[in-house]
Structures are given as C-alpha cells and as structure tokens.
Subunit: 152 residues, 2 copies
C-alpha cells in the first residue's frame, strides 16, 4: 500500500503541475515492475489536442518508449475517474490495474456514465481500485474551477 | 450528396491504404467549409499507439494545423462506426456531423455498444448519418481479416 500511495502522490504532483500551467488538474503515472515508466498531467490546451488527457498521454509516452502498443502488466494511477475516451484507451492498452482518486459523476465512465469496463463491447477490463488520494485530487479540481470562475 | 459520396470515397481510399501497410482498414477524412483538412487511416501498429485510430488521427492532425482544440463546424467521414474511445473524442472535438460506413456491432459505440451520443455524460453530440459507402467499407474489413486468418 505504501507503493500505491507513493504512485498516487506522483500522479497528484502531475495534477498540481497541470493546474500551474492552466490545464485542468488531472495527473497520471504508469507503473511497470514497480517503477514509474511515464508521467503526465492533462495537456489538452498546450497541445491543442482534445485527446491529450493525462491517461492517454502516459499510455502514448510509455508505448513510444517501450516500442509496443500494448502495456501488459502495467498499472495506471490517475487522480480522477477516467472519462469514456480514456476508459476505452485503457482497455485497448491492456492495462492490468487502474487506481483512480476522485469519482467524476459528470464525465466518468468507470463507476459512472457508461461504466465501460462492464459492457459487452469492452474486450479487456483492468482491475479497478478507487478512492486513493481522493480528497487531494478533488480539492485540486475544486480550487482550479473556483479560480477559473473568479477570472470570468 | 455528391460531395458526401466523394468525401466517403476519400475515407475509403485511406482505409485501402491502411490495409496495404498492414493496418486494420479503417479510414477517415475531416471536412471543413467543403474541403478536406485532414485524412488518415488507422496507424495503431505503425505508431505503436492504441489511440491512433483513423478518427483520432484526423482530429489531432486538424487541430495541429488549425492551432485549435475544438473543430466547430467540421464534419467527419469514417468508413466504420466509431468505437467508444473515438465517439468520446468526436464529442470533445465538437464535430458537427458524423458520417460513417459500416456498423460495428462488436466494437461500435454510436448505434451499438454504449451509444455514447445518447448518454447523459456526453456533452456534445454530432448529427449522425450512417450507411454511406457501407458495402465497400465492410468488404475491405472482411477481406483483410480473412487474409490475416489465412496467414496464421
């Protein structure tokens, strides 16, 4: 559990950095054989890429560095419940375990929304662990959106 | 309708090229103001990227060339019903109209599977037109997978 907590802390650090540069504060790390092999926050604005959520950024980065499409045995830590797009990407990449922080009733697709991993059109589902680092993850998002509203 | 047919023909050409280079034969083009602004087939194998479906490839390419995240007013032509990941990306990119060829009961997410555009967690849905170029699109896929099985 100490390891899981430190990996989620690394994901939270990525979320904090994302907020600092004006991105929605969600962060992720990908772990293989006990080591972080990719880390990123959201980069949709900086990259002009709606698909550059933290989860997809780390999957792409890890696939590039390993030279393989599928990330068998890899575990993904992300501060917010993955959306529909990311849940499907996690399935395609054959991620072994998914740890997420805060639930996302409006956009999540794991324990909310389309609950993709439980659908017949989902051909690989990771083991899912939720609530790790939840308070810190949710607090980052609340603070970010409150400050955005004050800017408007 | 002549225009829609020629845009789907261009998507089919991308699917054919994808098959030639060993990728699953799905192709897409993105059209803005009556002109094709991005075209691609699947590139998951070549790019070592599970997210490099034809739809996501053209969305990313168009966003890069236009320097903007959202593709308001753009229409997407794709030879196969988008999967769960791509349906959500299409929604995020604010695509205006989606034209797709063949249905995909096993992996589709528009008229099959999670039917994402009809869900409460989908915050933008394109107009959807299906069946355009369906026979040619399905035939490319059938031929490709038959030849793969013979290789095994």
């Amino acid at each position: 559990m100490a390891n899981s907590e430190s990996f989620m802390a690394a994901a939270l650090a990525e979320a904090t950095e994302a907020a600092r540069i004006g991105e929605v504060p969600v962060g992720a790390v990908l772990v293989l054989d006990g080591k972080i092999i990719a880390r990123s926050g959201n980069r949709t604005r900086l990259a002009n890429d709606v698909t550059a959520h933290a989860e997809i950024a780390v999957i792409r980065n890890a696939s590039q560095s390993l030279g393989q499409e599928r990330l068998l045995g890899a575990d993904l830590y992300v501060t917010l419940e993955p959306c529909t797009m990311c849940a499907a990407a996690i399935s395609f990449a054959r991620i072994r375990r998914l740890y997420y922080g805060a639930e996302d009733p409006k956009g999540g697709a794991v324990d909310n929304g389309v609950r993709f991993f439980a659908q017949p059109t989902c051909h690989h589902a990771p083991e899912v662990y939720s609530g790790l680092g939840e308070t810190a993850a949710a607090s980052l998002l609340t603070t970010f959106f409150r400050s955005k509203r004050q800017d408007d």
